[in-house]
Assembly symmetry: C2
Homo-oligomer: 170 residues x 2
DNA sequence: AGCTCCTAATTGAGAGTTCATCTACTGCGC
DNA sequence: GCGCAGTAGATGAACTCTCAATTAGGAGCT
């Protein structure tokens, strides 16, 4: 493509392929566990987590999309589904009537609390149990570097809003 | 879940969340690039890569599923689509008539060759350009550890078969 | 007011994945 | 040969995601 084009060298190839394999296995398991035990895919769990960490358990759709690294369209569909399940409620924003506010319901919070331990366990078993503390730190540094390089915030939650109440966030 | 249940500690939380953010951004870009420029999602590109690396450019469906870390069902659908595009051909296995053999066509190989540089460029830009060589090595080690811990082979291609011809594998 | 441009969010179609089910064939024991 | 369990793969429905189009409201200008 560029005049500086290079194939991946041997180390990069191995890293990329191992990374792909890890990702498929990891998210396959995490997703399946959540789907079975909590009735929702991981993307939806994340949305509930974001809401649970915000004052009033409510957030503008656009903010929620940012903080869950989700497209607006995806979020619309997701919240529609979560609303059907009774876990989220949508209300109009009184200040800007274009906007909608998604709010975690009591049932949604309860579902999250019920799902969290199983989810954390599966994350621990599939990821952290394999790694040394040094590797956990390396992984964080790598992920932060990549995300920042792509011009994004690695921790979309920390954008000036106040933090969590419960440690539900897996 | 266990009597040894623990929440994620602060370091683990940060690592997990940064990892999630990186993954979404990374695969979103890689997938979009391939979809736009080559007309296939990354999962399908991987299937073509696996076939291209194998003698005769042909493999039993079940072997192909293993080596692309894919479920059988997914592979069936995927190969059906790839067959429509004329990139893969399916023939019956003469030895075991339950089996089917997927074979990369000349058009499929050409499509792969055409797609490879753009794909490698996007992988480089979204991942490797952000990392030091040491981090590339750390990432590989982490991915290998996790994959092995889950009882799988980080490099499903290297299972005793002979290796690649062209460096198409991004 | 009227017009244009922009932002917020929803909607519907199309594509990919998963799950459960189904067909076809193999291999083994009776 | 017959039955039966197990394997290889395909299939259809349900679900999620993406993309493009659409609705609806705000902001600024004349």
């Amino acid at each position: 493509m560029n005049d500086t084009f290079r194939w991946l060298d041997v180390d990069e190839q191995r890293a990329w392929r191992a990374f792909l394999t890890m990702n498929r296995l990891l998210f396959e398991r995490v997703d399946r566990q959540l789907q079975c035990d909590a009735g929702m895919p991981h993307a939806y769990y994340e949305i509930l987590v974001r809401l649970s960490e915000v004052p009033e358990h409510a957030l503008r759709m656009s903010k929620l999309a940012e903080s869950s690294t989700s497209s607006r369209s995806r979020l619309s569909h997701a919240v529609a589904r979560l609303e059907e399940s009774g876990w989220v409620r949508r209300t109009a924003d009184p200040c800007d009537r274009r906007g909608a506010i998604a709010e975690l319901t009591a049932e949604g919070f309860a579902a999250l609390e019920a799902a969290a331990p199983g989810h954390v366990t599966s994350v621990r078993e599939t990821l952290f149990d394999s790694l040394t503390p040094a590797q956990v730190d390396q992984l964080r540094a790598i992920a932060e570097a990549v995300t920042l390089h792509l011009g994004e915030n690695p921790y979309p939650t920390d954008e000036g809003d106040t933090p969590a109440a419960e440690p539900v966030g897996g």
